[in-house]
Amino acid sequence: MKIRRLPVGAVALSLFAVVLSGLLWWAGTPARAAFAPTVALIPVSGTVTGQPESVKFSGQAQVSSELVLDTSKFNLPPAVILTFDLSGVSGTGSSSGAKYVAGGNGTNVYRRLVSADTVEITFPFTRGTTMSVSSAGLASVRSGVVTFALSFDTNTGAITKGTATVATPYFPN
């Protein structure tokens, strides 16, 4: 980043008798480096209770972490964009033994980069192998909540370790 001090002469704004003796002017921002996202596989487990049956989830979530470094004058703190893919997570019905599939791929969150963060997202799931919409609409689709406990390399934004727990959504009114 370059800071250039412009030789701006004193300008009086008579209205307020405010005198500017100079001002900082940003000459622009350097081209940024592209930060390739890093991808971590996070073990997921846990159960969503409810009708018609409880569903026990297991598998691995793929979580990509993209470092966002601000090169502007704003000096925003480093952040990460986390994108979640639950296609490697599946559920099993407690009474039917049937397979359930989790949706919501592409869900993303923007978080300040810290060494340890807890990120909770919700996701839809349904019995079967594809999260497609039937003419019945949403009657058969349910929701779960998955809480990721993630550790980050604060230099690269990469996830260094993590676990995730699935639970029943409970958000009292």
């Binding site: 500017l20 900082l24 601000d70 704003f74 964009i81 592409g106 993303n108 919409v133 003419s135 949403l138």
Partner: protein, 729 residues
């Protein structure tokens, strides 16, 4: 931005002082003692140099009393509680026969002279000017006016706030949370908040609720927009400008109807916008109109076939002011509405089973355009002063203006009564700088069926939406049959802002509901009350296939362009009307980032060709929702990879969120009409300061003049001047 409700008394006093001092500048600006241009020239309005204003003017600089950027005092709520008023449905604009328009619409702008009001700037008594503000002559004539003659007249005005005595919600009161439309509707954000004065709130027809334009394919509309704002430019209540240009976002119309930022018109004038409502590709695809999927409801259950590509069918638009360097102020002031477009595929009737109609949630009583279960939602954050009058910070040119009160359909955090069945919500982010991310309060699944104006190739089941950038529209289906009568469920905003640059954090649903966020617009903003079973069975559907993307693969890519969006832009021109200065700009094809000049052409795609455009966020941790007018694009890649494009962005779009540090590659075909269009950030503060460029199609269609002369509107008439252009456009 706004102060925390826990801010100390000293801090609040400091902010009050700052607001008062700024009001003096606002007044000086309004009185013409100084101009915004002066402020820029003096360096008071630029990317640096604002620090001297500490304690006196700029509540955004770091305060002596706190380590965080300060802000305005919170908007007083006068004791009003959330979810204590019904959400009004949009107010449907009357559709009249074209013959009712006096004077009759004309292909070229109507240059009949009238005596001008001397309160208008630059007018001396006795001056005359044209009654229509559209630029005169053949270049700004309605393209294809004889081929697509207008059928429907929709007369509208923009004017100061007044009571609405002609509210038409388009549905019975039972489907409008019991609101009696015969009761005069006051210009208030809540029954117990003060009326907005006529200088504080400027809306279509001067009234609330916001207006809904209804149209269908093949049935052209003349949207006759009369400017009834004060003649005196100083009568603006502190922000907003009385010249207007209305963008139909994202109409596939000739540029003369696009609301070009420099084609503005004055109080006392009208502007005839001609919306032919045609399918893109009508010159080359399905020209014989033989495909029933390319069609329009015929009024009696059938289909009127139209030319064009049925895969270009559009559904959810909006319209808003696009005045050069004043878009944020005028849109914030209320100058925005929505536009539902009906087609054979998306006809707003869930019962007609003709093999084409997708039967999305809507209703059955009318052939098309049933609004019973098809609900427009306009989200916007607002702020008001101690008197409850709408307040805007014209000095925040850098990051964007975020306010502290959440509104839906321009009322404060309302409730909405629903039946136990499926509803479609057409959700518009109508804020000027704020992003939203929406979940239901119980995390229930929703189905996203459209993004921007367009139905997706396939519906996507979600429990939380992606970020909804400014001007983006998400159409969402919610099935309330999962609830029992008497239950409530709310829409929740998960996205926390600290200022207008970008959301500072995505919150979890539980965090957003906890009330712990410093951002008052986080949390529940719309409460659904499940009140009854539907009288008729819900026969609506959400088919697994909606509208596939147009296949552009056979069309060679004529050109690839790259646009970089960032700060530190410079201005190369100094035209007093067409150019503006500000921190933000766009760099074209490797060139320097430039501030907006609507007299400068930055790109000129050739008529009929296809191009690939790379939209790059240049080095910022902030976000830019970039809007490209006129043509729908398909996102090919995000950050260099097709696999990064989420399912809900795999249809056609008109606003592309670059994301922090991100880039988007899109493809578009330029066809059917010509003229001058725009590309800009839709964080309207960025747009106004001055992240906007002009591109044009000038080698085909109707204009046939390269390059096109730039319009310079005055009350006495529009003159033209030669444009400038970048190399190799």
């Amino acid at each position: 931005m706004f102060l925390s409700s826990k801010a100390s008394k000293l801090r609040v006093k400091e902010a009050e002082n700052a607001r008062r001092n700024r009001q003096e500048i606002v007044k000086a600006l309004a009185d013409g003692q100084i101009t915004r241009r002066d402020l820029f020239k003096w360096g008071l309005f630029t990317t640096g140099g604002l620090l001297l204003w500490k304690h006196g003017l700029n509540p955004f600089v770091r305060s002596a009393y706190a380590s965080v950027p300060t802000g305005f005092p919170r908007s007083p709520l006068f004791g009003v509680q959330a979810f204590t008023q019904p959400m009004p449905r949009f107010d449907v604009l009357p559709r009249n026969a074209i013959a009712t328009l006096t004077p009759a619409p004309t292909a070229q702008a109507n240059q009949t002279q009238q005596v001008l009001n001397p309160a208008l700037e630059g007018v001396t008594p006795g001056d005359t000017g044209p009654i229509e503000g559209r630029p005169p002559g053949p270049i700004w004539a309605h393209q294809e006016f004889t081929r697509f003659p207008p059928v429907i007249a929709v007369p509208v005005s923009t004017e100061g706030a007044k009571v609405n005595t002609v509210y038409d919600p388009g549905v019975p009161s039972s489907l409008n949370s019991g609101i009696n439309p015969a009761t005069p509707f006051p210009p208030r954000f809540h029954p117990n908040l003060p009326d907005q004065g006529p200088l504080a709130l400027w809306t279509f027809n001067g009234t609330l609720p916001p207006k809904l334009l209804v149209g269908r394919y093949g049935e052209g509309i003349i949207f006759r927009h009369s400017n009834k704002l004060p003649f005196d430019i100083r009568q603006n209540g502190g922000f907003g400008i009385h010249t207007l240009s209305t963008h139909e976002h994202n109409g596939h119309h000739g540029a003369e109807n696009d609301g070009f930022t420099g084609a503005f018109f004055y109080p006392g004038q009208f502007y005839d916008y001609h919306y032919p409502i045609v399918l893109a590709g009508w010159r080359s695809v399905n020209t014989g109109a033989t495909d029933a999927r390319a069609g329009s409801p015929n009024g009696s259950g059938g289909i009127t076939k139209v030319a064009g590509d049925w895969k270009e069918t559009m559904s959810t638009h909006w319209f808003h002011d696009h005045m050069f360097s004043f878009t944020a102020q005028n849109v914030y002031k209320g100058d925005a509405g929505m536009f539902n477009i009906y087609s054979a595929l998306d006809r707003g009737n869930e019962a007609i089973n003709d093999g084409v109609n997708l039967r999305l949630p809507s209703g059955t009583a009318k052939d098309f355009g049933n609004l019973d279960y098809d609900v427009n939602l306009m989200l916007a954050d607002k702020a008001w002063d101690a008197n409850g009058q709408l307040h805007f910070d014209i000095f925040d040119t850098e990051s964007g203006f975020v306010a502290d009160v959440m509104t839906v359909n321009l009322v404060y955090r309302p409730f909405f009564e629903v039946e136990r069945r499926k509803y479609r919500f057409r959700i518009l982010n109508g804020a000027v700088s704020r992003f939203f991310k929406i979940s239901l309060s119980d995390a229930s699944p929703m189905i996203q069926i459209a993004n921007d104006g367009n139905l997706l190739p396939s519906p996507v089941v979600i429990t939380q939406t992606d970020e909804l950038g400014i001007a983006e529209r998400y159409d969402i289906v919610i099935d309330f049959s999962r609830y029992s009568i008497g239950q409530t469920v709310s829409m929740v905003n998960l996205l926390q802002h600290e200022d207008g640059k970008l959301p500072s954090s995505t919150l979890s649903l539980s965090q957003a509901l906890s009330g712990s966020s410093s951002d008052p617009c986080v949390g529940k903003f719309l409460e659904f009350r499940v009140v009854r079973d539907p009288a008729q069975p819900d026969v609506s559907q959400v088919p697994a296939t909606l509208i596939p993307n147009p296949d552009l693969s056979a069309i060679p890519v004529a050109r690839t362009r790259t646009f970089k969006f960032g700060d530190g832009a410079s201005q190369t021109t100094n035209d007093p009307v067409t150019s503006f200065r500000g921190p933000w700009g766009i760099g074209t094809d490797g060139g320097d980032k430039l501030d907006a000049d609507f007299g400068r052409i930055s790109a000129a795609p050739r008529f009929g060709t296809r191009e690939i455009w790379n939209l790059v966020n240049d080095g910022g941790g902030w976000d830019h929702p970039v809007h490209i007018h006129f043509e729908e694009g398909q996102i090919l890649k995000r950050n260099g990879s097709a696999s990064n494009v989420p399912a809900w962005e795999q249809g056609r779009k008109d606003v592309y969120r670059l994301r922090p540090d991100g880039s988007v590659q899109i493809t578009m075909q330029f066809r059917d009409f010509g003229g001058m269009f725009m590309e800009h950030c839709h964080n309207t503060l960025h747009e106004d300061n001055a992240m906007l460029l002009r591109w044009e199609i000038d080698d085909g269609g109707s204009p046939f003049l390269r390059p096109l002369p730039t319009p310079i509107p005055t009350p006495q008439g529009v003159r033209f001047q030669a444009p400038t252009q970048l190399n190799n456009i």
